[in-house]
């Protein structure tokens, strides 16, 4: 009985929970001290800067300070040069690469037999990042087995071992010889194989990159019907090769730049040296070299680091996954940046018209290209202004609508309880929701989402009198229009601005929309992309180079490069590019 009573009591009575050891990420010692000192010493200075800004600046400073101090603590002595003693090198490598904690680093020790002499050596590389066969055949095999061969070279006696190994033994095409440890380690980090040999104070870094990557694929986002069907992948050298394959021009320079203090992401800056303006190239190089950050992964991040204006909705650098597009823009005198690990190349400078063009425009015939251009501009205006215009007309300018349409709108809105602004914001939001969810949804569920989106939001919302059917048409046309915009980023900017225009239209009708267009055009005319006015060649006007701007002239009429790029070579082709069109007699033959 007592037991039962206790059981009941155990169930219902309050018991103090047992103390449980939980993991807590504790503040660093240095931070705590810093906090106190900051409050006492630096507070008067910081108040001047403003509260919000001080929040950002202080924390970042702290971490940097403490981070660097940690680094110093961890690395007691840093070897700058490769030592002659291999054990010293091996010890340092083990420490540097955290062997054996680090699982995927391979440190292979072996012996080289040269003229009855045994020299110990070691290989170091990351498993999975290298091509194992290459190491076996081209590095280990000659060093371990073929070193004994009698090499018929008279000068052999005079050479020292290091040169002998480099010149005669390692049968690999890309070998870097260096005395500096950091240089070798950078190579190892990027899929290289480090070779250290006892008795010499240099090391070899062989390029044996062999990691798994995507093959060159069809473009996913910039699909064309006519034209090349290749797109960039994540490998830098594949990407540069794709461009070189198209351009085949020794004047095309691919300068290497590495960005990120820790990631050291290799980038390639491409330009055609006798076309692109030197100051433009210098400016791009300056911006690329002056990025101080730890890691950078994608050109999407790079774009944000080097663009002129951060808060402007319109992008100022074009990102494309098509090598042919990059190539054609390089021939205009622009500069491209390709980054290892990113399938998108950045091309700069960019003007408004570049965003309205698709790669296909150049490949289809003159009348078709112009039809597409006109369609695109209409699509842009629709996706930008249509919801705003709808709100403006239905709220302020009833006399503008044809009577029949007015009655149709009136009848369809009769039982809708919301004002038309709320109605359109509900629908636009729903549309954005479908778009975002459709992107993130796992592909097996994709069709379900489409059905739910189309059925529930389209049909049922109308049946439930939440929105009017005419509004569904407006939103749908807007959505279709926004997909007709060839550039993803530009489409994004219009998606944002569309809401602004709805807001302005709700406040002041056409007056508000006009105001918005006015401000937007001022903003666009004011913007610059790498020193080139964004609205060039229309605002400011330039002398020539209108052949492929808003409309596209026939290809044989496109003689000049855009004037605003100030290229070294302004002519693309002679005045008469179709020499056959002149009769032989006139040509004087």
């Amino acid at each position: 009985m007592a037991n039962f009573k206790k059981l009941i009591k155990d169930i219902f009575a309050f018991k103090e929970p047992k103390p449980q050891e939980e993991f807590i990420l504790k503040e660093k010692e240095s931070e705590k001290i810093d906090d106190v000192s900051n409050k006492n010493e630096k507070s008067p200075v910081k108040e001047k800067k403003g509260f919000i800004r001080s929040l950002f600046t202080r924390s970042s400073n702290d971490e940097k300070d403490s981070g660097s101090s940690d680094k110093k603590n961890n690395k007691l002595e840093k070897m700058v040069y490769v030592s002659k003693d291999i054990t010293e090198n091996i010890d340092y490598l083990k420490k540097r690469f955290s062997i054996p904690t680090n699982g995927d680093i391979v440190l292979r020790e072996f012996d080289i037999l040269v003229k009855d002499k045994t020299i110990s050596a070691c290989l170091i590389f990351y498993d999975g990042m290298v091509n194992g066969m290459l190491i076996n055949l081209n590095i280990l095999q000659p060093l371990m087995l073929l070193s004994n061969l009698d090499i018929k070279d008279k000068g052999t006696e005079n050479k020292n071992i290091s040169e002998y190994i480099h010149k005669n033994l390692v049968t690999h095409n890309q070998v870097k010889v260096s005395r500096e440890f950091d240089e070798i380690i950078d190579e190892i980090n990027f899929g290289g194989c480090g070779v250290f040999v006892d008795g010499i104070d240099i090391a070899y870094a062989c390029d044996v990159k062999g990691w798994q990557h995507r093959s060159v694929d069809r473009p996913n986002n910039e699909i064309v019907i006519r034209g090349p069907q290749e797109s960039f992948n994540e490998v830098l050298r594949v990407n540069t090769a794709l461009i070189r394959k198209i351009l085949k021009d020794e004047d095309l320079v691919a300068e290497s730049v590495s960005i990120g203090e820790r990631s050291k992401t290799p980038c390639s800056m491409l330009y055609i040296k006798d076309i692109a303006n030197d100051s433009l190239v210098n400016e791009v190089r300056r911006r690329l070299e002056n990025i101080k950050t730890d890691y950078i992964f994608d050109t999407g991040e790079l774009e944000q680091y080097i663009e002129d204006n951060t808060i402007m909705p319109t992008p100022q650098i074009i990102a494309t996954e098509r090598p042919d597009r990059v190539a054609s823009m390089l021939t205009e005198g622009k500069v491209a940046v390709i980054m290892s690990g990113s399938p998108f190349a950045l091309v700069m400078p960019t003007t408004n018209n570049d965003f309205l063009q698709s790669a296909e425009d150049a490949y289809v015939r003159f009348p078709y290209a112009n039809l597409l251009r006109v369609m695109r501009v209409i699509a842009i205006f629709m996706s930008l202004l249509l919801p705003g215009l709808y709100v403006a007309i239905t709220n302020f300018h009833h006399e503008m609508i044809p009577t029949d349409l007015l009655f149709a709108i009136e009848a369809s809105r009769e039982r809708v309880p919301f004002p038309s602004v709320v109605e359109i914001i509900i629908m636009e939001f729903a549309f954005e929701l479908i778009r975002e969810a459709g992107l993130r949804v796992p592909s097996p569920i994709g069709p379900t989402l489409g059905i739910i989106g189309a059925l529930i939001l389209g049909q049922a919302a109308v049946a439930a009198n939440i929105v009017s059917p005419i509004l569904i048409i407006v939103v749908a046309v807007t959505g279709i229009g926004s997909f007709a915009i060839p550039n993803f980023s530009l489409g994004f900017s219009f998606r944002i601005l569309r809401f602004v225009y709805v807001f302005l239209a709700a406040i002041a009708g056409f007056l508000g929309i006009t105001f918005g267009l006015f401000v937007q055009s001022i903003y666009l005319c004011n913007a610059k992309s790498f020193g080139v006015p964004f609205m060039a060649p229309f605002g400011p006007k330039t002398n020539s180079g209108y052949e492929d701007q808003f409309f596209r002239a026939p290809i044989w009429k496109q003689e000049n490069r855009p004037d605003f790029l100030n290229t070294k070579d302004t002519k693309k082709q002679p005045k008469i590019s179709r020499q056959w069109a002149k009769s032989d007699k006139k040509r004087g033959k």
Partner: protein, 436 residues
């Protein structure tokens, strides 16, 4: 964000806040408004007017929110009549009992009763032109008869081909382009001509059909006798007198002629066509002319005006001397008599006959405007205006007063272009008895 970016940001915020201050000031949702599509004015007690609004019911016109209704159920319009001292006071009164706010921007026609029109409608026209919501291009009608004829006319409008009565007005009043029996008498044109010193305003005549059964049909009110014809042609009628019966009661034909803001007379259908020809606004129309060689038969022609008329005004002995040359082209639609007018030698007979026909008609019509109506409807003053150096000289000339003394010279250039699909009329073959 540096201070560089701060400045435009603040400016934008300030602008947006200024805009927001308006607080959607005159924003009105479509479904919070009611749209009258026609307005009629009759004479009320004393100084007041009797105003009739024809209000479209959108759910009936366009089908309900569920879609597909097609406006089948019930009347698509409702009427309300109010007596008020002025247009706007009347609208205010109507707003008290019509649940939604009146929005006049979709008004298609403005109808004045004949009584009101003969008294003068300047004050109403000015009010309509001044009002922001009234469309300047809504049509101006004068309902014939006495009493509340404007209301009677509006209530009689029962469009059958359109679910939307507004569309009925638009279609029926723009039919002058292919009938020539009415004219583009928008309020803005009316106002301009009313205040103009070189021309006089016109309005379309409207009435409801006077015949109930086809047995009642007669042509007693036709104007053919005045013109010295033996039988009426299609243009010899005014609205309400047309020999027709049917479910569509409302009729539009002819023009009301104004002198200043007062109605002084009427044009029948034919005179309206001639008026359009003098203006150069005649599109194309089927016109019947008597057969020159066979008195009992007529020749219907499809007449077009492809060139503007040549108009010339001179002052001889202090009196205006007006010369007009009208250019017309025609296709033959039918030749009742079967005479081979298509042939080169006979076509001139038809052409000269048609020229005579129209010259006679124009002469009669112009003399009527000058002597009977004393109103320059064709706007010959515009030709006169160019002869003066200053505006003051022109206004001092007082053209409107001089016009009734005008002498006219009319010339018609008539060309038959195509005989239609038949190159020759072949007689029907049969035995003598059969033919008789």
């Amino acid at each position: 964000m540096g201070s560089k970016a701060k400045k435009p940001f603040i400016v934008i915020v300030a602008f947006v806040m200024c805009l927001s201050m308006t607080g959607c000031f005159d924003k009105r949702e479509v479904d919070d408004l009611v749209n009258p599509i026609a307005i009629g004015f009759d004479k009320g007690e004393g100084n007041s007017i009797r105003m009739t609004l024809q209000i479209a019911i959108p759910t009936k016109v366009a089908g309900g929110g569920d879609g597909g209704g097609g406006g089948g159920g019930g009347e698509s319009v409702s009427f309300t009549t109010v007596e008020a001292p002025s247009i706007y006071s009347g609208l205010n009164m109507i707003n008290t009992y019509v649940s939604k706010q009146l929005n006049m921007s979709q008004i298609k026609v403005v109808v004045f009763s004949e009584e009101l029109a003969r008294e003068g409608i300047e004050k109403y026209i000015n009010a309509l032109i001044r009002g922001r919501e009234f469309r300047p291009n809504s049509y101006m009608l004068v309902a014939r008869g006495t009493g509340n004829v404007a209301e009677r006319y509006l209530r009689a409008v029962e469009p059958e081909l359109e679910s939307n009565p507004a569309k009925y007005y638009e279609m029926v009043l723009s039919a002058y382009r292919y009938t020539g029996f009415s004219a583009n008498t928008s309020i803005i044109n009316f106002y301009k001509n009313m205040v103009s010193e070189s021309t006089q305003p016109l309005a379309v005549l409207a009435d409801i059909s006077q015949f109930e059964n086809s047995d009642d049909i007669n042509t007693d009110n036709s104007t053919y006798r005045e013109k010295g014809r033996d039988y009426p042609l299609e243009g010899d009628f005014k609205a309400g007198d047309m020999p027709k019966v049917g479910t569509i009661k409302s009729e539009i034909m002819g023009l009301a002629v104004f002198n200043g803001s007062k109605m002084v007379g009427e044009f029948d259908g034919e005179e309206t066509q001639l008026q359009l020809m003098l203006e150069g606004n005649f599109g194309y129309s089927f016109v019947t002319i008597p057969d020159p060689l066979s008195a009992d038969n007529v020749v219907p022609l499809n007449i077009r005006q492809n060139r503007n008329p040549k108009r010339k005004v001179e002052i001889i002995d202090g009196k205006p001397n007006i010369k007009v040359k009208v250019f017309l082209e025609a296709d033959i639609l039918s030749i009742q008599s079967g005479i081979n007018y298509e042939s080169i030698d006979k076509v001139t007979i038809l052409e000269t006959s048609a020229e005579k026909f129209f010259e006679k008609g124009l002469m009669r019509m112009l003399k009527k405007t000058a002597q009977e109506l004393r109103s320059d409807t064709a706007g010959f003053g515009k030709e006169m205006k160019g002869k003066f150096f200053t505006w003051d000289e022109w206004t001092d000339f007082k053209w409107i007063e001089k016009y009734p003394d005008s002498k006219f010279e009319v010339e018609v250039d008539f060309k038959i272009r195509r005989p239609g699909l038949m190159l020759r009329t072949n007689p029907a073959t049969g035995t003598e008895e059969g033919e008789q």
